[in-house]
């Protein structure tokens, strides 16, 4: 089984420096790309069926295709690497940032070349201290060896890359809010259209791609679209970093073929549940994805298959709910997070989420009312897609609506018994 994204990465070992990275074939893809037309680079990525790994799964080449090209295109154009990994339960981009920074830089340069961007920013969350240090070192090395700056490797193409370390807030991961943060503003989302591809950073064409997405690019360029598709067990090309956290024997992160089943990830890689704990359900791809239960475990973890369980692949890092953990308490934790991280820009989000949090808090503390279930259901509907500026509130509604569906008995017990059945106190 090929693992292109992690072939240079082993836990506890220093990442390859530039010389070591080159020795294992690094930057060969960049040389190849610089010999191709930007449209040819876009074409091979399109052919590969690479879909964005930040959670939404939008086809990467299609995103790029909206960027104005040619001599008349507005300048400068920007590429932003979204390294603001802050989705609860998600820890995949950190491995790529810490473990092989040059792979990401090479992906950034090739992607920037494909859209003819002049400047790239790596938008990194402040908590990733080691990643910041390693990225800084790797960017400096890349400049020193002519991979960045003016006339890269003697070609006419030039690119500046800057590391921007954020000052917190989950909202910054949302692509238009991220652009506001980069401009030195509050990270509120922007209305779309105009889309960032046309009018993004400082009103110029801008592409925002996730770390894992960009790390795939050098491999697609060097080994081709057919090879990339052959790595996958589904229509979406490539491998995927899958993770598991919660009460399992071996929590962790693995690069596996896209479309590996949840059962395989959970049982073979994560080693199944810890002794004394039973599986009840899981959030497949971070806090803002719908719960799935045991009946869904044979589904492939890819963008389309997960829809069959009314859920999403999201970031591909699962959070497991066990029988000794209260589902209502888990939802309270999740909704507290979303309520706290709401930027306050639109009313359904800031008002609705704190209301939901209060209802769940009351339920946990024995003050639940029979009418609460209906109230929570209506909130989940009203916070769904189309009612808010961005995806934060719809994301918060996903675990809530599915939690109400699968763990209804548990909600009812809280209300009838006027206490949390899991809380012994």
């Amino acid at each position: 089984m090929e693992t292109p994204l992690t072939h240079n990465i082993s836990p506890g070992r220093e990442p390859p420096d530039l010389a070591q990275y080159e020795k294992t074939g690094g930057y060969a893809a960049l040389r190849k790309a610089l010999g191709m037309a930007p449209a040819e680079v876009q074409a091979v990525v399109k052919e590969s069926n690479l879909r964005g790994r930040g959670g939404a799964g939008f086809p990467t080449a299609q995103k790029w295709s909206f960027v104005p090209m040619g001599d008349d295109a507005p300048r400068p154009k920007y590429l932003v690497c979204n390294a603001d990994e802050m989705e609860p339960g998600t820890f995949k981009d950190r491995m790529l940032l810490e473990g092989d920074p040059h792979q990401l830089i090479e992906g950034i340069i090739i992607s920037a070349y494909a859209i003819q961007a002049d400047v790239a920013y790596v938008f990194l969350r402040w908590a990733y201290k080691l990643a910041a240090r390693r990225m800084e070192e790797a960017i400096a090395e890349a400049y020193l060896h002519g991979y960045l700056g003016k006339n890269i490797l003697g070609s006419p193409y030039s690119l500046e890359v800057h590391l921007h370390i954020s000052a917190g807030r989950y909202m910054c991961g949302e692509e238009t809010a991220l652009l506001n943060a980069l401009e030195g503003r509050r990270a509120n989302p922007r209305a779309k259209p105009p889309y960032p591809q046309v009018s993004g950073l400082w009103g110029k064409p801008t592409i925002v791609n996730n770390v894992e997405t960009l790390c795939n690019i050098p491999h697609i360029v060097s080994q081709g679209a057919e090879w990339f598709k052959s790595l996958s067990r589904s229509d979406d090309g490539g491998t995927k970093l899958y993770g598991v956290s919660g009460r399992v024997k071996n929590p962790g992160l693995w690069e596996l073929p896209m479309g590996t089943s949840m059962r395989e990830i959970l049982e073979e890689h994560a080693g199944g549940m810890c002794d004394g704990y039973q599986f009840r359900g899981l959030l497949p791809g971070g806090a803002s994805t719908d719960f799935v239960t045991a009946e869904h475990l044979d589904l492939a973890m890819d963008f389309d298959s997960m829809k069959k369980a009314d859920s999403r692949l999201g970031t591909g890092t699962m959070i497991v709910l066990d029988d000794k953990t209260c589902p209502v308490g888990m939802l309270l934790n999740l909704e507290h997070f979303f309520a706290q991280e709401s930027c306050g820009w639109c009313t359904p989000c800031w008002s609705g989420l704190s209301w939901i949090e209060q209802i769940l808090q009351d339920m946990e503390e024995g003050r639940g009312r029979a009418s609460d279930l209906e109230l929570l259901e209506s909130h989940a509907r009203l916070l769904g897609p189309g009612h808010t500026f961005c995806a934060l509130a719809p994301g918060a509604a996903e675990p809530l609506q599915s939690g109400l569906k699968y763990f209804r008995d548990d909600f009812e017990r809280h209300i009838h018994e006027k206490r949390c059945p899991w809380n012994q106190a």
Binding site: G89, S166, A167, R169, E183, G246, P251, T317
Partner: protein, 172 residues
């Protein structure tokens, strides 16, 4: 007024952006690094340097949770309170830390040594529960491990104090 060092660092970062405003978050972080937190004076200093209105900068400063608009202790403890850590027993650790330090989340110890803050997912969920103290990450925590970590910081400070009272410390 910004110190010479603060000004130099802000100017170095400003070169990465097409206008001054864009560097304001970095500038706040730089001021915080040297002064421990961002006071009203810090806001005024940065606003003046970047030709922004103080109120405008304040609206940015209060948005980002890692810009401290109140004084914090010498060490800031960020305890992850997101879902994986919650499942793995974050609440027990919060109680334990609170008992050991004699403070609740959001407070600073009377001796000014530690501030305890809850924080969203720190991205090490396979090693939950986790926390950060200043720039260091700590994983797979339990109460005993937390005691060790706190003791380490207390000892570290004792050593620093000894050094600072020892005239030859610079040579050792």
């Amino acid at each position: 007024m910004l110190s010479e060092q603060e000004r130099r660092e802000i100017e170095a970062h400003a070169r990465h952006y097409p206008n001054n405003r864009a560097v304001c978050i970095e500038a706040l972080k730089i001021v915080q690094q040297y002064r421990g937190w961002v006071s009203n004076e810090g806001i005024a200093d940065v606003a003046e340097a970047l030709q922004m209105k103080p109120a405008e900068l304040e609206s940015v400063a209060t948005f980002y949770n890692m810009i401290f608009r109140k004084p914090v202790g010498k060490h800031v403890i960020l305890l992850c309170d997101s879902v994986s850590c919650w499942i793995m027993g974050y609440e027990r650790l919060r109680e334990h830390l609170g008992d050991r330090l004699g403070i609740r989340p959001g407070q600073t110890t009377a001796d000014g040594r530690f501030t305890l803050l809850p924080n969203v997912c720190l991205g090490a969920c396979d090693h939950a529960p986790v926390m950060m103290v200043d720039d260091a990450h700590y994983q797979d925590l339990d109460p005993a491990r937390i005691d060790e970590i706190l003791a380490g910081y207390q000892q570290g400070e004792k050593k620093e104090e000894e050094k600072s009272t020892d005239g030859n410390a610079a040579d050792s």
